[in-house]
């Protein structure tokens, strides 16, 4: 169990323990827009890592192309700023090469569900022991605001000026269908809840996914009548239904515009790297 002291660490101490903050004197700044949900995700991940008491030199974050791609560099752990969508494949290589590493991919919705969908579902199918954090801001933001595989029907973006006419993916259902053994959802409003989900996901042995609905008021919000971060936080607060909550969560979840947060799926299943080496030992023994 995590100690109460670790649960309640003040932000300044948390930063000292986990972060590599921008050096203002060298002209470095955080690269997120003011009010971006990514800052909340970053601090939740920092808290989760701190609570887990892992040696940060054995932690690797893998990012791709997107606003979230830089996030891993703000930690004292290792970071691979890789290509767009390939992070789960990098994770498979890292874990097979050194099973002692803790691998966390930091991905976006376009990154994990479009260009990297194949790597995402196949890593899930293998049940490789990595954690995939999907920062879902309902479209492509780093490129200026285009629609993607998670943009809601009707969502206005630069490439869907009359509203998005494609059905979106449900990242969590996709992950469950593909074989992920821990799947959770949170939002940028639920900072403490998100921390808990990340902590449990990293602790889970097997392929774990945390989808965070993360506001992008600057690009997606501006074009869809919600230009303030606070409007999004309110939206997330009022429309999230706790998974397994008493009082008809099932029915409320079915309402349009509602989504379930919490652990949506969890199971124990032999893990990929362990299965690989167990099988390899058989081959080695037979020769």
């Amino acid at each position: 169990m995590t100690s109460a002291r670790r649960m309640a660490i003040p932000m300044v101490e948390l930063a000292k323990a986990t972060a590599r903050l921008p050096d203002a004197q060298a002209g470095e700044t955080f690269r997120y827009c003011p009010g971006c949900g990514l800052g909340i995700v970053q601090s939740a991940l920092a808290r989760a890592l701190y609570r887990l008491e892992i040696d940060l030199s054995t932690v690797v974050t893998v990012g791709g192309s997107g606003c979230y791609g830089i996030m891993g560099e703000y930690f004292q752990s290792n970071h691979i700023h890789g290509s767009h969508g390939r992070a789960p494949a990098v994770g498979v290589g890292l874990k097979l090469a050194n099973p002692k590493l803790t691998v966390i991919t930091i991905q976006g919705d376009g990154d994990a569900l479009a260009i990297g969908a194949s790597h995402f579902i196949h890593a899930a199918r293998r049940n490789v022991d990595i954690t995939v954090l999907i920062c879902n801001n309902f479209g492509y933001a780093n490129t200026g605001g285009q629609y993607g595989p998670s943009t809601p029907l009707g969502g206005v973006t630069e490439t869907s000026p009359a509203g998005c006419f494609e059905y979106p993916f449900d990242a969590c259902q996709l992950a469950i269908g593909a074989g992920a053994t821990f799947v959770a959802r949170s939002t940028s409003y639920h900072a403490i809840h998100m921390t808990n989900m990340l902590e449990r996901a990293i602790r889970h042995k097997g392929f774990s996914v945390v989808e965070v609905l993360q506001h992008c008021h600057v690009l997606y919000g501006k074009r869809n009548g919600m230009p303030e971060a606070t409007q999004w936080l309110t939206l997330f607060k009022e429309n999230s239904v706790r998974a397994g909550a008493p009082g008809g969560a099932e029915a409320r979840r079915a309402e349009p515009g509602k989504w379930e947060i919490g652990v949506l799926h969890q199971e124990e299943k032999p893990e990929f790297v362990e299965m690989y080496f167990a099988t390899a030992a058989k081959l080695a023994g037979n020769r």
């Binding site: 990098v90 097979l96 090469a97 390899a280």
Partner: protein
């Protein structure tokens, strides 16, 4: 005392199997791949061999996945390789670019087949320009082309060494005609195959930066992820110092350093990388510049022409990139004619023309793209026609 000759073995191998054996002899213990003809025997050999050696051989969802699994494994300290062909070589380009930019070592074996696209599974040398120019951006590639089963082994050994010591992806440009050729080869005792590994940091972990080096041509020392040294690998444009420490600043000086560094670390060592073999070029009036499967046809043509009293020589290129321009200049210096046989419509001949152009030596391409080998008669026919016979 180990006795090299007592430990060596004479075995019958496919070129593809020899590539896998060369990689294993050079310490490759991680392979990620995707099945594709005519490269699959390489994958199958690794799948059979690596688990018994405590290594890893894994099949990924596509070639793009293979390349990025290599990237992860290389960052964690493994010597890594993959093999592909034709359409798969298109898909690995992104990974080659990623490894090049992030400065991580890997060996990519391309058993070339006819293209474009799915093309056919028959032999060709049509990807030799793609080896250098197939990915985006500006990066000096290293590519070696084996012409025999034995060379499949030794080019792969050398490719691993160059990849490790220079922290970059290195290509072995095999062909279906070479990869599926079966020859008896003398394999060394693998314990005797000593190659240099990646440069290691000697500084304290706190002073370590993933890309820290003094001169453009230096290779930054590389620590494994998980070894206590903090790494930040970037496929994004980065500088030596600032970015390596957590790259949050982008500026034009860093971009300039990054691009020039990737080229300089290779070109500074181009003479160590250069691998050619001359045959009777000293007095040659006609020099045939050949690589890969065309080498045996060139040697047969040379032999026939010499018997006919004509002074013909052959320059075999094993290293294709960086193009061994000094060797070509040197060995063709006295030539009145240079022939370049290739199983494509004229690719490396452009490099030969670029190098010999100022000297005025005529360069003539000989091309076959019908999936057959280059035949000695194809070369002799041109030789006779050019010599006015």
């Amino acid at each position: 005392m180990s006795n090299k000759h007592a430990q060596s073995r004479r075995v019958l191998l496919l070129g593809n199997e020899a590539c896998a054996e060369g990689a294993i002899a050079a310490g490759v213990r991680f392979y990620a791949g995707y099945p594709i003809t005519p490269a699959t025997e390489i994958f199958e050999r690794f799948a059979y061999r690596l688990p018994a050696l405590g290594g890893v051989c894994v099949q990924m969802e596509d070639e793009c996945g293979s390349m990025h699994a290599l990237l992860g494994a290389a960052a964690a300290g493994q010597r890594v390789a993959t093999a592909t062909s034709g359409p798969g070589f298109n898909l690995v380009q992104e990974g080659i670019a990623s490894l090049a930019s992030a400065e991580l070592p890997a060996v990519i074996i391309n058993v070339q087949r006819i293209g474009p696209s799915t093309g056919s599974i028959h032999g060709a040398q049509m990807d030799v320009m793609q080896a250098q120019w197939g990915f985006n951006g500006n990066h000096q590639t290293i590519a070696l082309a084996p012409s025999s089963v034995s060379e499949c082994f030794w080019t792969t050994v050398r490719a691993v060494e160059l990849a490790e010591t220079l922290r970059m992806p290195v290509l072995v440009m095999s062909e279906m005609h070479v990869g599926l050729m079966r020859q008896a080869v003398e394999l060394p005792d693998y314990d005797e195959v000593r190659i240099e590994g990646r440069p290691r940091p000697t500084c304290a972990p706190s002073d370590y930066r993933t890309y820290l080096c003094k001169r453009l041509e230096d290779v930054p020392p590389l620590a494994d992820i998980g070894s206590g040294y903090r790494n930040v690998f970037q496929v994004t444009t980065h500088g030596s110092e600032t970015a390596g420490g957590g790259g949050m600043v982008w500026d034009y000086k860093e971009a300039d350093w990054h691009l020039r560094h990737l080229a300089a670390k290779v070109l500074h060592r181009r003479h160590e990388i250069e691998w050619v073999e001359p045959f009777a070029t000293e007095d040659a009036e006609v020099v045939i510049v050949a690589y890969g499967s065309c080498v045996s046809a060139a040697l047969a043509a040379m032999k026939a022409a010499r018997q006919d009293g004509r002074r013909v020589g052959v320059l075999k290129l094993v290293s294709l990139w960086p193009f061994p321009e000094d060797a070509v200049r040197r060995h063709a210096a006295k030539a009145e004619l240079v022939l370049v046989p290739e199983l494509n419509l004229g690719q490396m001949v452009r490099e030969v023309e670029r190098v010999l152009g100022p000297s005025g030596i005529p360069v003539h391409p000989i091309n076959r793209v019908d999936s057959y080998y280059m035949w000695p008669d194809d070369i002799l026919g041109v030789l006779n026609a050019m010599a006015g016979r």
